[in-house]
């Protein structure tokens, strides 16, 4: 008798309730606060998965009501494809029942535990049934099912079932009664989970109603659906014995060699024959008849041959621009001065494609003296617990942030400063440290990608900060010559009863530079960049000024007539007399571009004589 069936027998002997009790922590139900978050999270993650699979922009409602002391009713409703009636009891009433269990595809759900664990928790703590309403499309009735899990048989039992009319085209609503605790203003809270979700799901619209009736709306920032992640076959490098045995059992292939060539990615028929030969198995052997020893030999043989990496186009990144928009929207009330984001190319660990995206938010009203806030995400799901045991935290700790303008004791550990660091890891199979899916295991390849990506964002932060310091200096000088010096002259003259002396000469001496000042203003859906050039030298200055633009197709107006406009650059010839001031302006369509800081360069003038622009080094 196969081991699994033997185990299954034993499993029936311990009740599900007991199993649940023992694994509370692993499943994410170990405290009242966390249990509430986990229930919401399981339902919302599923809702987002379902909408994406169906290709509809998610419209999600999350409502939490207090029914009694420490008892809450959670309602999560989506506009996804719905669930057919016969499946409802299985999806919500059976542990380890899911559509993604054996699929290699980037999705939030991975294990088929999530929502039934929440249903079980609800039932064990309040004794109340879960209520599921679902409709699969226009013209179909909606089914409303009340169910509980029979903890003796580990099988769903339907308490009540009815057909109802539901306005919605399609979708699913789940209502759960749970023992829990609702907390606010804490990293680990329903609100923070939804805020994080909003950042990495810019295509989602979510409404959240808190127990006190307060309604929070997370607006959608893009109408674009994320690209559909493709399902891929497993790659030999990442396969485990158990999975291989299962695949051998379930395959329709007639021969081991064709099994290997068709059920794995990156294995050609000739490579497949090579593997079988190395494993010492007859290539015509039926897969069902492969023994445990032979399966082990296949795994061994996989290691000995060179294979191409798995295809990586199966991943669906959020993208630099959308992460930035999501971050900007959700940090608006902090008015940060700088946001930078980065998306890396897909990479592979143990035959599993993955990719990393990061972002840094800096300044504004973020607390200056505290540890930076870390926002961790896996397949677009915020990770709220076990920060210390996660590869994301590890990667952040191992970087020397002092180089990039944050404080860090001894160049190690979580940095301090007014910043938020975001890391998103997307993969067809996220290597979580446990079933509660809260921390990503320490995988060298993943850590490296996180580091490289964060370095990219951090370098841009550094550039921004040094530009800011320079600007600050220039601003000080400007204050000096425009306010303080004239006031010194005036007051001195007043005391001495003499005429106010002229100060132009002194100003030129103090400044002795060409001063370039710029601002980016957004109004009426347009972005306007104004660049002012002031000559504080005692001679006329002539040089070329370069302004970086996102793309020439967005640029609507340029004044004065430029020397040249290229894809990413506008070039002006500048001529300014001593004490003269000139202005250069360009306007862009604000709906399409993401432009909040000018990058200015000069050519034909010694850069030490210029404040506010760098030396032009040629186009990159």
């Amino acid at each position: 008798m196969p081991i699994a069936e033997e185990l299954a027998k034993k499993q029936k002997q311990i009740s599900v309730a007991e199993f649940f009790e023992k694994n509370k922590q692993i499943l994410g139900f170990d405290s009242l606060n966390r249990a509430l978050i986990t229930c919401v999270k399981e339902a919302v993650d599923n809702a987002l998965d379902a909408c994406e699979e169906a290709g509809v922009l998610p419209d999600i409602l999350v409502k939490i009501e207090e029914v009694d002391k420490d008892e809450y009713k959670i309602t999560v409703e989506d506009n996804g494809p719905g669930i057919i009636k016969s499946q409802i009891p299985h999806v919500f009433g059976r542990l380890l029942y899911g559509s993604r269990f054996h699929s290699l595809k980037q999705s939030r759900g991975q294990q088929g535990i999530g929502i039934s664990a929440a249903v079980l928790y609800s039932q064990l703590t309040t004794g109340k049934a879960a209520i599921i309403t679902s409709k699969i499309g226009e013209g179909f009735p909606a089914h409303k099912v009340e169910l509980i899990i029979d903890t003796k048989t580990n099988y769903p039992r339907i308490i009540k079932e009815e057909m109802i009319h539901w306005e919605k085209k399609s979708g699913t609503r789940i209502e759960l009664f749970v023992r829990g605790k609702y907390v606010k203003n804490r990293k680990q809270s329903v609100y923070e989970y939804l805020r994080g979700t909003a950042i990495v799901n810019p295509h989602a619209h979510m409404v959240f109603i808190e127990p006190d009736g307060n309604e929070i709306v997370f607006e959608r920032v893009t109408e674009e659906m994320p690209s559909q992640p493709r399902e891929i076959k497993p790659h030999p490098y990442g396969i485990e014995l158990g999975t291989l045995l299962k695949m051998l059992k379930e395959t329709k292939a007639k021969k081991v060699s064709s099994f290997l060539a068709t059920e794995f990615s990156s294995v050609s028929p000739s490579k497949a024959r090579d593997v079988v030969r190395r494993a010492g198995i007859d290539e015509n052997k039926r897969p069902h008849e492969v023994t445990l020893e032979e399966a082990k030999a296949i795994l061994e043989a996989f290691k000995g041959i060179k294979l191409m990496a798995p295809p990586t186009d199966c991943l669906s990144p959020i993208g630099e621009v959308l992460i930035k928009r999501g971050l900007r929207k959700e940090t608006m009330q902090l008015s940060p001065e700088f946001i930078s984001t980065d998306t890396r190319q897909p990479k592979v660990f143990a035959g599993t494609p993955f990719m990393v995206e990061t972002g840094i938010v800096y300044g504004g009203n973020l607390p200056k003296e505290e540890r930076v806030e870390i926002l961790r995400f896996a397949n677009r799901v915020p990770l709220l617990y076990q920060e210390g045991g996660c590869v994301i935290t590890e990667a952040i700790k191992n970087m020397d942030w002092r180089r990039y303008g944050l404080e860090q004791k001894g160049g190690k550990g979580i940095p301090y400063g007014p910043a938020i660091i975001l890391v998103h890891v997307a993969s067809v199979n996220i290597p979580f440290t446990s079933e509660s899916k809260e921390a990503i295991a320490s995988v060298e390849e993943i850590e490296k990608e996180i580091r490289l990506s964060l370095q990219q964002c951090a370098r841009r932060l550094k550039t921004h900060l040094s530009k800011k310091v320079k600007k600050e200096k220039a601003k000080n000088k400007f204050l000096l010559i425009s306010k303080i010096l004239p006031e010194i002259a005036r007051k001195c003259a007043e005391i001495l009863n003499k005429p106010v002396p002229p100060i132009d000469n002194v100003i030129t001496q103090i400044m002795n530079i060409v001063w370039i000042d710029d601002e980016v203003v957004k109004k009426d859906g347009a972005v306007e960049s104004r660049i002012r050039v002031m000559n504080y030298k005692d001679k006329k200055q002539k040089f070329v000024l370069y302004a970086e633009i996102p793309d020439r197709k967005f640029v609507q107006a340029i004044e004065p007539e430029p020397l040249e406009v290229r894809d990413r650059i506008i070039k002006w010839e500048v001529e300014v007399e001593p004490a003269e001031k000139k202005e250069y302006v360009f306007r862009m369509d604000g709906k399409e571009v993401d432009f909040d800081e000018n990058n200015l360069y000069v050519l034909g003038i010694d850069p030490v004589n210029v404040v506010g622009a760098e030396k032009w080094e040629g186009e990159k």
């Binding site: 000080n476 000088k477 204050l479 000096l480 306010k483 303080i484 010096l485 006031e487 010194i488 002259a489 007051k491 001195c492 003259a493 007043e494 005391i495 001495l496 003499k498 002396p501 002229p502 100060i503 000469n505 002194v506 001496q509 103090i510």
Partner: protein, 359 residues
């Protein structure tokens, strides 16, 4: 030349710089620790030769010049109107000065000190005074003080004052205060209020024919100046009586040699002939005084005093080394171990006799 003329010169310098098209600047003695030198002739600490320039090339320099001009103007008005103000009032008044306004009181305090350095005059000449109330004096001396109403009043510092004594005003210069008559033959400066009150209650001023001055911890400028003037003008020796710990030795040093913060006016404030009476580390042993263990900071302070030229003589080196050895410190009031009169009946007479005084 008057104080006003001295201040005016600063404005004239700035004005003429501007007229010539030069970036205006003022030069003054650098106020860093490295520029503090011991003046062997006066035996006081003074600023050395290093100079620093405050120039309008930089924003802080320009602010300093602008504020200097405003402060000058403010002082001019006070002198004309016969008023004075506290340093704190100066800070608040600057609220109305637009760009010249101070952001914090230490900025305005520092500027007042800068002005002293530039003009070689004292803060009192600028009609600026600290908030700290004056220390107290009891003894057989008659002082003539000019009151607010402008009249001169004579005060006998035993007969005309209560037990709290005569309060030293912030300005103790000749235009404000003079000594008319003195019968006491020495000055005893006492660190703590508790001990001062003990000596007063035990009538030690009469018994020992001394003028008792309460130092109130680190003594204020006016207290030090007051002691210095009595020492110079009345030829009275000065004895300093403090707790037996490194911080108290520094109180003695600031009376005798000057403090680092006020090094530009050390020769006005310091009394190099002042002698230290105790409590010494030897006293702790000889009188078997109740004591506390030295803490880390105490030890560090003692060690730094070992390399401090102000303590570079046989007496201090021996005592400091002894204290580091016994690792103990004692308060003045520890003498109460032997009764309330012990300090005036036994300790002080014995110690003063050792120093060559008769009691």
């Amino acid at each position: 030349m008057s104080t006003l003329d001295d201040l005016r010169k600063i404005a004239e310098k700035i004005y003429s710089d501007l007229e010539k098209g030069k970036v205006p600047s003022i030069t003054l003695a650098s106020r860093t620790k490295s520029n503090i030198v011991f003046d062997d002739r006066y035996r006081v600490w003074k600023y050395g030769e290093q100079k620093t320039t405050r120039s309008a090339v930089s924003l802080p320099g320009a602010y300093m010049l602008l504020r200097t001009i405003y402060v000058m103007d403010f002082i001019r008005k006070m002198i004309e109107e016969g008023k004075t103000s506290t340093l704190r009032e100066l800070y608040y008044i600057s609220e109305g000065w637009g760009e010249a306004k101070f952001n914090a009181q230490d900025e305005s305090d520092k500027l007042a000190e800068d002005l002293e350095i530039i003009t070689g005059r004292m803060r009192e000449d600028f009609k600026l005074r600290p908030e700290e109330d004056g220390a107290r004096v009891i003894g057989d001396i008659v002082i003539e003080e000019r009151t607010r109403k402008g009249e001169k009043r004579r005060i006998h510092c035993q007969d005309d004052v209560g037990d709290a004594g005569y309060s030293i005003p912030y300005n103790v210069e000749k235009d404000k205060l003079n000594f008319v008559e003195v019968n006491a033959d020495k000055i005893i400066a006492v660190e703590t209020g508790g001990m001062f009150d003990r000596l007063v209650e035990n009538r030690f001023d009469e018994k020992s024919n001394s003028i008792l001055v309460h130092l109130k911890g680190q003594p204020a400028r006016s207290t030090r100046r007051f002691i210095k003037r009595m020492n110079e003008e009345l030829n009275l020796p000065v004895i300093v009586f403090t707790d037996g710990d490194p911080w108290s030795y520094r109180i003695y040093a600031s009376v005798a040699y000057g403090a680092i913060k006020t090094a530009h006016i050390s020769e006005y404030l310091a009394t190099p002939s002042a002698q230290f009476l105790g409590v010494t580390p030897s006293d702790i042993l000889n009188y078997d005084l109740p004591s506390d263990d030295l803490n880390k900071e105490d030890v560090a302070a003692l060690q730094s005093e070992l390399s401090d030229p102000r303590f570079n003589d046989e007496f201090w080196l021996e005592e400091i080394k002894l204290q580091l050895e016994i690792k103990k410190k004692a308060e003045q009031q520890a003498l109460a171990k032997y009764g309330l009169d012990y300090v005036t009946d036994v300790y002080l007479p014995e110690k003063m006799a050792e120093m060559g005084y008769e009691v």
